[in-house]
Symmetry: C2
Subunit: 298 residues, 2 copies
Amino acid sequence: MLPRVADHLESWRDGDARRSIEGFVQGAATQGDGFIEPADRIAVFDNDGTLWVEQPLPVQLDFIFRALTQAAQAESSLAEKDPYKAILAQDPDFFAAVSQQQPDAIRALEEALARTWLGKTPEEFEEQVAAYFREVKSEHFGKPYPELVYKPMLELFEFLAANDFRVFVCSGGGRDFMRVIAEPAWNIPREHVIGSAPTYSYEDGVIKRGDQVLGGLALGSGKPEHIFAAAGRLPAFAGGNADVDIEMLESAAFAMLVVHDDADREFAYTKAAEKSVAAAKDQGWTLVSVKDDWKTVF
Amino acid sequence: MLPRVADHLESWRDGDARRSIEGFVQGAATQGDGFIEPADRIAVFDNDGTLWVEQPLPVQLDFIFRALTQAAQAESSLAEKDPYKAILAQDPDFFAAVSQQQPDAIRALEEALARTWLGKTPEEFEEQVAAYFREVKSEHFGKPYPELVYKPMLELFEFLAANDFRVFVCSGGGRDFMRVIAEPAWNIPREHVIGSAPTYSYEDGVIKRGDQVLGGLALGSGKPEHIFAAAGRLPAFAGGNADVDIEMLESAAFAMLVVHDDADREFAYTKAAEKSVAAAKDQGWTLVSVKDDWKTVF
């Protein structure tokens, strides 16, 4: 079988990144040295900063902070306690602690999340997420977040699918938050979305949210663990953009790292990605520059 | 779009069961009252007794008991302790306690399982399972178990796929045990296999088996819980054969229950399925008689 024509990556400039991706993907689908059995053609991508903007705050954190703000406004006793107090005060130390995953901050946040959504059905949660996506706009871009998915990545999804890869998303963010947009925004089925998730219990015909995290957060080594649990194999192709993606990227046969270096069209930042850039150079991963490798960003 | 022709169910006799299945599946794929959005077309099946024989013992229990017997033979101190002692003695009380899921028996078994496979890589475990499938034959049929998958059910998988259902298996048995045969025997991808599973940890580029059960056993209410976690929705179509499938069946829009009533071609038994037959009559599930509804069993 001849390799399929790479007509999918039209938002990618011709360059090392595009050529290296095309080479690997078409090689996987062609008898020869780089061939990969169709069953093993699993591609996995991080979400925040890899599929859509994550500045100034990862989208789901913005969603959560808004929900916790509403909860504190509705129940004034909460407003005196962290994380509600810190969120209402927009305390930069707290935001920094969360983004650095400091245990105390994460624990306080997890407890608040459990309190907010414990016992809720998926339909109730999904309606809340859907309303957020309809109503809230990024201040920077003036657009709802589902419109801030990177077009070159959606083209890459299609290119991979055309070469019989099954495309998954594995994010440290909430699995059930992402599943709301998986089909409309990414055109991938919900069952291909892996991420941090609460337990659920089934009773009297209804699934309801529990207060534990199922199998740990999908960050760092948690990413390959969640991917293996969901897919039964480690990925052939992986894409990420941050230090918490390193283990996922090193578990794949081919890895690409998005580098945010385009202050004009998006954002330029290296924070929480320094180690991953070093790992990419060390391990020969493909670096994808937003500025140089993408003709179109959105 | 016209409904696709049901040329897939050739091992099924014309009768109520086949007609009810065809009616639901083709209705789901046709604009009208029974239409189901393609994204929601999830079909889920139990494994033991639904997809292959489970007598005299569920296949995976046979695999486990052989492995524990070998462990006890290799390490004589184990032979004095349960469950090793009971397995070596072929103690019917122990087997009954396991099949009735008595907590003490299950705990002893889980501890022995963890001891046997703790720290093993997926490749090591899979090779052991593959050897079992190559070498061990059912005493009753004189054939390896992968040849004892019910042909009508494989046809049903194809029929569902032809109508744009995604077919999953959800079994109380081990997820990773089933994944070894998912692609060769069922023609469904590993990521569509849901079941009871250990934790895994990722370290130094390798996934290794832990000693905890991830998210509980996929039995009873654990089935819809595992299905929701994996697929992001409850099933449109579900098939089972036992009391531990009741919650999964009631969570689906359409449910079918396999009834083992064919002592000549397979086995005739009702044990551990009495409540599910009652539930089927009560809730209008489709009963599938091995004797009457299947022209061919294997």
